[in-house]
């Protein structure tokens, strides 16, 4: 892999990420503790600390097209354990958002990205997750029509799956969160 650093592009990318992250990329020690504890590291193409370094170096194309940002499950193990209190999980979120905004479609992790999109739309319209709606849309779009279907009766029985009326009462507040982030 080769990178030619363009100072202006690097600064634009870094300041864009940092303003959304509310943290400085230079705070990272590059000690690798985040990668050491990451439960999905084995599936990633770049380790979390590499993502941070590459972001600092302005390697936008590489990080925004990486599998890593879509494979991160936001378990926050990395951020919890980070000796510098760096927002490792946060940077994954930020990079996902930038990728979506730029219209970059992950080839390797198409379904994850789709899930991400449906999930957020679901939150936006309901103020919380409507499991039924989420699964329906996701399964339709991915054409796995019967995926996880056998779990539905049990969940219904336990009241975990509601078919109607899952909207929260004050949707305006959720709308404000989305607006602030955009």
């Amino acid at each position: 892999m080769k990178t030619t650093i363009n100072e202006h592009e690097r600064r634009d990318f870094v300041s864009g990420v940092e303003s959304m992250l509310h943290d400085k990329l230079s705070n990272c020690y590059q000690c690798g503790k985040c990668s050491a504890g990451c439960p999905v590291n084995f599936e990633m193409d770049y380790t979390p600390n590499q993502i941070i370094k590459m972001t600092e170096l302005g390697m936008a194309d590489t990080v925004l097209n990486s599998k890593t940002i879509w494979l991160c499950v936001s378990c926050i193990t990395c951020s919890t354990r980070c000796p510098k209190g760096f927002e490792v999980t946060g940077i994954m979120d930020v990079l996902r958002e930038i990728a979506v905004k730029k219209g970059i479609n992950s080839k390797a992790e198409r379904e994850v990205q789709l899930f991400h999109k449906i999930f957020l739309e679901n939150i936006k319209s309901n103020g919380r997750i409507s499991e039924f709606e989420l699964v329906r849309k996701y399964n339709l779009k991915t054409k796995h029509l019967f995926k996880d279907m056998f779990l539905a009766p049990k969940m219904l029985e336990k009241g975990k799956l509601k078919i109607h009326g899952v909207k929260i009462s004050n949707l305006n507040r959720i709308a404000k969160i989305f607006k602030d982030f955009e």
């Binding site: 080769k2 100072e7 590499q50």
Partner: protein
């Protein structure tokens, strides 16, 4: 008849765990001449020593054998105990049954037998011991400090403040060394010359310090307490007494474009008659004859002489040799910088904007060639992007420098910070292998270069630099992200590593001190005797010993001074009596001994008859220099040299005791 006591130490379980100490004592008691043999848990403890002293009194012992640890550990402890009971200290012998037996063997039976054998040998040796008196050497209570950098200055001031006369010899026209060339110092960013010049002035004005600048050590002879020094005082071609340092001479000099300023690391020019920098101590110019038109054109130019008010320029002055006598020497000769041009791939010397760390330091400095404004050498423009490369001339075995230069990580972080402070919206990139920031406040300093001042650190070395379209293209790598990185920079600063001062090996040979394979002076013990050289009376300070930063150099200067003051606190210096002794009757004056002696302790001595005619010349041992190593003994063809305490008959008795 000898009355010998044998004391077998357990050293807790250190010895007793592997050696049957009771059996050793029992076997020792059977040796003729041994009147008592005991074992005890810790012979070195107070009760252990008391029982030893009680035994000497009660049994009227004439010799002691301690079967215990190495003589390096407690020989002196037991000798002191013996002296308190009126014995000569050299009637104490140590059988080392710890380092040579229990620590290196496992089989208890055989280890015990070896311990018994070693004890037997020492019993036979002690029977043949003779009293030895320690040698007393007179002390000249003056000290020589070689090198007027921060370490030498600190050593000179501390010694002088202790009431001792100091002679400070500096090779350059001014004291101040490398530190005065620096702009600001890590990690506090205080200005180097602000904290250095008061010390330099103090040296100049101190009643106990005699300062020789622009001078070199020509020869050193003698030994601890009695060194004779020849100092070559190179001529400045200026009558120092009359010079006021007014500057008329160097303002008048027509040669102001041709000579590179050493002080500014070749970044500017100086005149032929010059002071290296405005705060020089002493503020007396030097006439560089290799550059002066007066000498080149057969005396035609004498503009400086004409300009000089007190007429103190004398073109005919010559070097002087000054002789001084001192009792102790502190070597603080400092360091040089690695030759950057060894790295052809970085283009130092080829591309003007690739500069060394010291050159960048001068660019930052208010007293430097650009008066503190960062301008790149090629076109004088202020750079916006600088790439710093660490470990240039450090950690590179292929270039003969496997060691870490210790200061480069810190000064690079400092450079990056100062660059960010001085040039708005600038960007620095630092290529490193590891960051060594172990001093007080150092790690925080490096982090602040990254976090506050925005330096981007890339973990990797640079492979190549080339010029393209007015930019320096730096091809490096970042091993953390696993990428090859290419940066277009306006300027590149190489964090040049340090090497020993040129000719330091020559000085080391003159001083008779040892130095390592790189040329750094080696200490007597790396941990426990870090300021002593291998030769008594010669102490070390500063970077001459190896890479270190300013605080460490100051500490080492003070440490060396305290050693000198400690040495001079006694009226005479006592040398152990176990030194070489020549049998003048049998010596044939082949002087092979002189050739093998590493300490230059052997000289010729004329033996004269009543009428003063020389009968013969024999070898003579200087007790102040001899360390009792025994090299001369084994080299002597006529068996005319012995080391006291290790005489032939004693060694033979030891061997015979083994029944071989």
């Amino acid at each position: 008849m000898a009355r010998i006591g044998v004391f077998v130490c357990w050293c807790g379980s250190n010895i007793a765990g592997t050696v049957d100490v009771a059996k050793v004592a029992e076997e020792a008691s059977k040796i003729p001449g041994v009147v008592c043999a005991v074992d005890y848990k810790y012979m070195c403890s107070d009760p252990g020593q008391n029982s030893l002293r009680k035994m000497i009194r009660e049994q009227k012992l004439t010799g002691l054998v301690l079967a215990a640890c190495s003589p390096h550990m407690h020989e002196n402890t037991f000798r002191r105990a013996a002296v308190k009971e009126g014995l000569n200290p050299y009637f104490v012998e140590i059988a080392n049954i710890r380092e040579q037996v229990s620590w290196v063997h496992e089989d208890k039976e055989r280890a015990t037998q070896k311990a018994i054998d070693l004890t037997k040998m020492m019993v036979e040796k002690v029977k043949k011991d003779r009293p030895i008196e320690d040698v007393k050497v007179p002390l000249t209570k003056r000290a020589l400090v070689i090198g007027g950098g921060i370490a030498g200055i600190q050593a000179a001031l501390d010694t002088a403040n202790g009431g001792v006369q100091v002679i400070l010899v500096e090779k350059e026209p001014s004291i101040g060394g490398r530190m005065i060339q620096l702009d600001e110092t890590f990690p506090t960013l205080d200005c180097s010359s602000c904290i250095m010049t008061p010390k330099m002035v103090e040296v100049r004005q101190h009643p106990n310090i005699k300062l020789y600048t622009y001078s070199e050590i020509e020869d050193i002879s003698g030994y601890i307490g009695n060194f004779k020094i020849k100092i070559k005082k190179k001529t400045r071609s200026v009558l120092e007494k009359d010079c006021t340092g007014c500057g008329e001479c160097w303002n008048a000099c027509p040669m102001h474009k041709n000579v590179k300023s050493e002080f500014n690391a070749d970044m500017s020019e100086r005149t032929a008659i010059y002071v290296p920098f405005p705060q020089a101590v002493p503020l007396i110019p030097v006439l560089d004859r290799s550059a002066c038109l007066h000498y080149k054109k057969g005396g035609k130019c004498q503009k400086c002489f004409d300009a000089c008010g007190p007429k103190c320029i004398d073109f005919g002055l010559r070097d002087e040799i000054i002789e001084e006598e001192v009792g102790a020497i502190i070597a603080a000769t400092g360091y040089d910088l690695m030759d950057n041009s060894l790295y052809g791939e970085y283009g130092y010397g080829k591309y003007k904007d690739v500069v060394s760390g010291l050159q960048f330091e001068r660019l930052l400095s208010a007293s430097g060639p650009t008066e503190g404004v960062i301008r790149r050498p090629s076109d004088g423009k202020t750079p916006q992007t600088i790439v710093f490369i660490q470990c240039v001339g450090s950690r590179d075995p292929e270039k003969g420098v496997p060691y870490c230069s210790k200061v480069c990580c810190m000064y690079t972080a400092k450079h990056a910070k100062l660059f960010a402070h001085k040039v708005r919206d600038s960007q620095s990139y630092v290529f490193y292998i590891d960051i060594r920031a172990t001093g007080k406040g150092y790690e925080e300093f490096v982090r602040s270069a990254m976090e506050q001042d925005g330096a981007v650190y890339l973990r990797g070395r640079v492979s190549r630099i080339y010029e393209d379209n007015g930019k320096l293209i730096v091809k490096g790598a970042d091993t953390l992200s696993g990428t090859q990185v290419e940066i277009a920079a306006d300027m590149v600063v190489l964090a040049t590593g340090v090497i020993p001062k040129k000719d330091s090996d020559r000085l080391a040979r003159m001083l008779g001190i040892s130095y390592d394979k790189y040329g750094f002076f080696t200490e007597s013990h790396p941990k426990l005797r870090p300021t002593e050289s291998s030769t008594a009376g010669i102490f070390l300070a500063g970077m001459a010993q190896g890479p270190r930063d300013i605080p460490e150099s100051v500490v080492s200067g003070s440490a060396a001074a305290s050693k000198v003051l400690g040495l001079f606190s006694k009226s005479e210096y006592e040398v152990e009596g176990t030194i070489a002794n020549v049998n003048e009757a049998t010596c044939v004056a082949c002087f092979y001994c002189q050739r093998v002696c590493a300490y230059h302790a052997i000289t010729g001595k004329e033996i004269k008859d009543r009428n003063g005619n020389i009968v013969k010349v024999v070898a003579n041992v200087n007790p102040g220099l001899c360390t009792g190593c025994g090299a001369c003994v084994s080299a002597c063809f006529s068996k005319s040299i012995d080391v006291k305490g290790f005489m032939d008959d004693q060694i033979y008795a030891e061997i015979k005791s083994l029944g071989v």
